[in-house]
């Protein structure tokens, strides 16, 4: 199915069935091109499946599945991660705090690939986040995030904000 630029018509140039057919082919070619790396919904080749990717959303292993910006709610005795912004991957998923600086992100997709985490800081400090991906039949895919801090003189987990870029793969 190829795209072919069609001439516009004038009164002296009638539109025949060939032009109409090419216009149909052009639409099909454009749709096929979008389908390669975007979700077109039912009938498309989305590896993620239409239910979890709205029509028009990207559907490309080379593009992150979502990015999430986390803050720590320190107003509570038991700090919680707040999702400042996030995409569809966390819909149906949730975050648990295991211990100080240790979080587990339960995700709603079965195609977890990896996460790239970056610590946030307003000063020059020693911080590092680590990501441990796992998958459990009972809980589904998950990422353990540990947010490390060295302010006490040695590295230890602490409740700290970070940003996360999540990637998924085709099945």
């Amino acid at each position: 199915m190829s795209y072919l630029k069609l001439p516009k018509t004038t009164q002296d140039h009638a539109v025949g069935f060939q032009s109409v057919n090419q216009a149909i082919d052009n639409n099909a070619a454009l749709l096929a091109a979008f389908d390669l790396r975007h979700s077109i919904g039912v009938g498309g080749n989305s590896p993620y499946g239409a239910p979890t990717r709205a029509v028009g959303r990207h559907d490309d292993i080379l593009i992150a599945r979502t990015v999430v910006d986390f803050a720590v709610d320190t107003s509570r005795a038991d700090p919680a991660l707040q999702v400042i912004t996030g995409g569809s991957l966390l819909v149906g998923g949730f975050v648990d705090r295991i211990a100080a600086g240790e979080w587990i992100l339960h995700l709603a997709t079965a195609q977890l690939f990896a996460a790239v985490a970056l610590m946030k800081s307003t000063a020059s400090v020693d911080r590092k986040a680590t990501c441990y991906r796992t998958s459990s039949p009972s809980t589904g895919p998950a990422i353990y995030i540990t947010t490390w801090d060295r302010s006490g003189g040695s590295w230890a987990p602490d409740d700290l904000p970070f940003s996360l870029v999540l990637w998924t793969q085709s099945p």
Partner: protein, 329 residues
């Protein structure tokens, strides 16, 4: 979130077959649907407009005034500065911020220390949103020798950065209106008739080609050229899953090289964003990586992995993920 009509392909029309209004109307509807699909995560003119595609991405070369290679000139033009040792700011141009990054900025970022110094020491990097238009990255380096302590200091290094932000509202469409056909109406040369089919197809295709190839692959340099999940088997590094990679090899303990499949230009700056899998959930590990062109058609990224144990740092073999960016060959 808008919903879109599904695009149905109309059957080909044979010579002598009737060409009724439904065919022409379906052609118009299909183009409109294609345009709606495109504008979900792209601007009407074609550039990407999605949270998941970095607005600014590039490689920054250290200096009193850092020089940067920011991928994709559409969102380039940001100014760079080094206000203190190991601190680098990316100040987005006002036009980019107001129109693209969103004044109520909600962001996420990736960063990686990509200097030759990572071959000898682990480095950390943190990010701060100074304002809706300015981001500061800070680099720290282990100042102790490997295996001899855990002292850290600010340090000047080359870095890779990627900044994500919420998408803008969908653009208004650029395609023109058309006139639906009724029974017994004929195609004419009116702008809202057959010519709008031709013109609107051209508009949709032109926009698609801004950051995609004609077959639909992404051609924007802010989109990764390759991703890889490299798994340490205990004896070797293997590519468990990847796209855009040709091979992987373990050069020595904690040093791994991934060669691209030719999709990169070998003469331009590249950027990567790796993340290492700890051996356990309670292990502290660091990975840094850098890309370099090693000859025509041969582009590689080399990764250095360090693990912390007993108050010291040492090279270690671990599984890791990396997203790799560069200019199309």
């Amino acid at each position: 979130m808008p919903t879109f009509p599904y695009v149905e392909q109309t059957s080909g029309i044979a010579r002598g077959a009737p060409l009724g209004p439904s065919t022409i109307n379906q052609l118009h509807a299909n183009i409109e649907a294609l345009d709606d699909i495109a504008r979900m995560e792209h601007f009407a003119a074609g550039g990407h407009n999605a949270l998941e595609v970095p607005w600014i991405l590039g490689h920054m070369v250290d200096g009193a005034t850092p020089t940067g290679y920011l991928f994709d000139t559409t969102f380039g033009g940001a100014t760079l500065a080094r206000p203190a040792t190991g601190a680098y700011t990316v100040n987005a141009v006002s036009g980019v911020v107001s129109s693209d990054l969103n004044s109520n900025l909600l962001y996420s970022a990736m960063a990686n220390v990509a200097d030759s110094a990572i071959e000898a020491k682990p480095h950390t990097i943190t990010v701060e949103a100074v304002s809706a238009t300015s981001f500061k990255f800070r680099v720290r380096e282990l100042s102790s020798a490997l295996g001899a302590g855990d002292t850290w200091a600010d340090v000047n290094r080359n870095i890779d950065v990627g900044i994500h932000a919420t998408a803008q509202d969908a653009d208004a469409t650029l395609i023109s209106s058309y006139a639906l056909k009724q029974r017994r109406e004929y195609l004419t040369q009116a702008a809202t008739d057959w010519n709008s089919i031709v013109g609107n197809q051209g508009i949709v295709r032109k926009a698609a080609l801004v950051e995609h190839t004609s077959t639909g692959a992404h051609s924007a340099n802010r989109i990764a050229k390759a991703v890889a999940w490299a798994r340490w088997t205990g004896a070797a590094q293997v590519l468990d899953a990847d796209e855009g990679c040709a091979s992987i090899s373990r050069l020595s303990q904690g040093v791994v090289e991934i060669t691209m499949d030719g999709n990169f230009s070998a003469t331009t700056t590249m950027a990567c964003f790796p993340e290492v899998q700890p051996a356990t959930t309670s292990e502290l590990v660091i990975i840094n990586g850098r890309g370099f062109a090693s000859g025509a058609g041969t582009s590689t990224f080399r990764f250095y992995i360090y693990a912390y144990s007993g108050g010291n740092w040492a090279r270690a073999d671990r599984s890791f993920f990396a997203a790799m960016f560069g200019v199309t060959a």
